[in-house]
Amino acid sequence: MGERLMHAKLDWDELQEERQEVLASWPTGQDVDLEQAIQFHKQLPEELNFAKCLTQAKAKGRTLAQPRAGVADLNSHLELLLYLQDVGEADLLPTTIDSYTRQNRYEEAEKALAESVREGRSLLNGFPAVNHGVASCRRLVESLSRPLQVRHGTPDARLLAEITLAAGFTAFEGGGISYNIPYAKRVPLEESIRHWQYVDRLVGFYEEQGIAINREPFGPLTGTLVAPCISHSVAVIEAVLAAKQGVKSITLGYGQCGNIVQDVAALQTLTMLAEEYLRAENIYDVEITTVFHQWMGGFPKDEAKAYGVIALGSATAALGKATKVIVKTTHEALGIPTKEANAQAIRATKQVLNMLQDQALPENAALADEREIILQETRAILDKTLELGEGDWALGAVRAFAAGVIDVPFAPSSFNLSRTMPARDNQGAVRFLQWGNLPFPKEIQDFHRAKLAERGQAERRPPSFQMVIDDIYAVGQGRLVGRPR
């Protein structure tokens, strides 16, 4: 590396030196053989290609259900995925990566993997794919009849991408912003964005060989009261960055906020905005699909209540016609779910999706207004970002975060300004109590002020940080808006 970050397609030949370094950083890297990988992908049936399944679902207007799941040991992981496929009726499968691997701490992952095998239970919160290597990962692809995606939270996922894509995975989650700001503390954005340009370029290489690979920026960010304009801004930037490297299938994500109109408006504007900004870059050959995340914040401990949260998310996903939905479980507030709980949540989700498969939220004025707000806010952020980057999206993203023009609430990263403070309005939509340096025009600022004043009036208390705390606990305590008791 060393060169200055910029929004330009990486030269594949020039990238080879870096690739060798990456592959040498852990022994399993040696087994990556691109030519052989392409051969393997070529003979995979269509139903095992993640991108193609999404294209089909989008064409039919269907919403697919995908769980999260990962345990340390290969056989246990395979057993888990088979269960979610057969008993859970999952349409798409994941492989969730453990937290050591996410921080490139392969030594620690190795030790915990060994201990997990010894103790016969997973001490890791996910599957350490790098430690397992290409051949083992391929066993997953060969043994399952649904397409597989890597789901993680890794600022530097270069080696993880090399290994899992070579193994036959056809979808890879993450991005230079969305897998840094919520998932790291001291990783500069320049660095993570550059590392994700590498991943996207690698995917672009597969695409050049005729292999469709789906990429999915991580939509929900911190999962906690993230207003659509924030996650949409990150999603659009990552879509543009990925497309530049040759990615053709992009799924943009959004985490349920809880107000149905806001959530559906968010899903609708997500595609609109991505297509708008891709067109502005003269990119026309990228397929945008959407993913809706069932409530990503704190869950109720009671499993019955958790089912309510899960089903409400499923209903919203269907009414908003998301291409897929990421399924939570009734164990969310208890710990990593058992396979049974995971399968049950998928089946509950699918029942709702199927029952609403031919229905959408009818067009209406409130929805149009909400779309308009999201469009205006997101465009304000994105246009300012591009301005700060002097026309370069990569630089713009780095500078926008430094300036607080994009600002993710509750993010652990020191490269996030952390001056915004979200809170729900009186209908439960997520608004801003403080918008920090978000470049909102005056009307938008007034809108947020008015919305929170309205709630304040209903609750007979001035809008304040206490509302935010109440809102953070609210869903876990059985409601959406954190009203005073």
């Binding site: 050591y100 996410r102 919520p182 914040g297 710990g335």
Partner: protein
């Protein structure tokens, strides 16, 4: 009475930041002097911060399931640093999955924690005990 100093942080490769922010606010409001190390905190950082600030207690969070690996040896490191008898709490989702709580508690007491708290512990659930343990 002088304010007691607490070192607060989320141990290991764990990035769950929300509970940590809420704890900082709640403990500060409750009158403590809070040294918040944030997320992704190593054992070394905990020990150094406790030494430097002459802390009265260390509050370790772990939400992501790896605490039993991450917290091993922390008490020993504190002993080595000469502050072996500092009060130490841990709370959060301490193991992978939903395991029998009394076993989890025993495991972490074994690792040298004075008190061990299950998921969804609210600030008001443990602050009174903390005051007591600190002789306030």
């Amino acid at each position: 009475m002088e304010a007691k100093t607490l070192v607060l942080g989320v141990i290991g490769a764990d990035v769950h930041a929300v509970g940590n922010k809420i704890l900082e606010i709640a403990l500060t409001e409750a009158g403590f002097n809070v040294v918040n190390l944030g997320v992704l905190v190593s054992q070394k950082e905990f020990v150094e911060a406790a030494l430097e600030t002459n802390a009265d207690a260390i509050l370790v969070s772990s939400l992501y399931g790896h605490a039993e690996i991450d917290a091993r040896g922390l008490r020993e490191a504190l002993i080595e640093a000469g502050i072996g008898d500092i009060l130490m709490y841990i709370g959060g989702y301490l193991v992978v999955g939903n395991q029998d709580w009394s076993e989890v508690e025993a495991k972490f007491k074994q690792l040298g924690f004075d008190r061990v708290y299950p998921p969804s512990t609210l600030p008001e659930d443990f602050i009174p005990t903390l005051r007591e343990d600190l002789g306030m």
